[in-house]
Symmetry: C2
Subunit: 201 residues, 2 copies
């Protein structure tokens, strides 16, 4: 499990950074190939041959096989480590939050960040459903974290890494995390666990 | 792994049916509690106490713990069976397709089916992006299946079960699968493997 991998990622993409966070946490060697979404480097024929969906991150495994989808990549890299519980119930709950992150959280918060901070769209061109959906996702997180320090099993797992990737950047979407104090405290906790400096300076 | 579980599901929801398909395939006993999305039975205080996200399916494990997210539930129930490969690469590819199903497929095709066939919305009230996104997802599937009989490892896995749940119902969204012949042949193959009668009579 320690052969070097190649990561095609965009440094401004939370989904891409998830993979970096896991590699850094597990001291796994990797080569990072910067691949800009805004410059459409994910839409070249060479990139689409790796991932027909045209999205980062993609990793190349040691045998050259491409693997896409950030949470699938994290699971592949972290299986057998403390980041993925062995206990069947804790494991199932990690999976539950990983799927929710991609279904209920990322399509709201990450998309709002992308349109506001990266594409710099004026407010009237941004889908008005994105902000209430983002707030609703943060409400779900706040309720869960009001009784816990981590999402599952009272310790750092992939559920926290997946969810922190875009939550810490919520201010880029104009969302002040002060309204969700348990979420804000958890973001700081996970940043510390991952050895990251605070995103909100 | 053979203690009975309780499934809260809506029989018209592909996400709910995925869990039934896996239980039936693995001969796992279960109790089905019909929970209607349209009648807002997923928004009652009792249901929200199980799943604050307010979505079916939810299962109750033998010890009473609720577990949400269809693909996380399938993984929990099928771990150790032939539906989840043991080989690390095949396993990673199953995860890749499970996450793509919830990120790139379900939010297009399932939502279009729901608005057209269940809410019976008139055409002008339906988000015009849903049809091209659905067609794009089917194009990705067609390209992959043009060279294979199953999504991963040349045999039935959870990747096929997750993806067939709404793909077979695409005609309910006004999508004729004849334009995607490899997808159509694969739907018939998976329906046979799961002992289902053809959805498109």
């Amino acid at each position: 499990m320690s052969s070097p991998i190649t990561i095609y990622g965009d440094s401004s993409s939370g989904n891409s950074l998830k993979v970096k966070f896991v590699c850094d946490k597990l001291n796994r060697p990797y080569r990072w190939v910067e691949t800009s979404v805004v410059k459409k480097e994910t839409r070249t024929p060479a990139f689409l041959a790796m991932n027909p969906v045209g999205q980062v991150p993609v990793i190349l495994l040691a045998d050259g096989t491409p693997l896409a989808q950030s949470n699938a990549i994290m699971l592949h890299l972290a299986e057998g480590s403390d980041l993925v519980p062995q206990d069947a119930l804790a494991r199932a709950l990690v999976m539950q939050w990983l799927f929710w992150e991609q279904y209920g959280h990322e399509p709201a918060i990450a998309v709002l960040i992308f349109h506001k901070a990266h594409l710099k769209k004026p407010a009237h061109e941004i889908n008005p459903e994105l902000l209430p959906k983002s707030e609703s996702a943060l409400n779900v997180m706040e309720q869960h974290l009001s009784q816990r320090s981590y999402f599952v099993a009272d310790r750092l797992t992939l559920a926290d890494i997946a969810l922190v990737a875009y939550t810490r950047k919520a201010p880029d979407a104009g969302i002040d995390l002060a309204r969700w104090p348990a979420v804000r405290a958890w973001v700081a906790r996970i940043e510390t666990d991952l050895g990251l400096s605070s995103y909100v300076a």
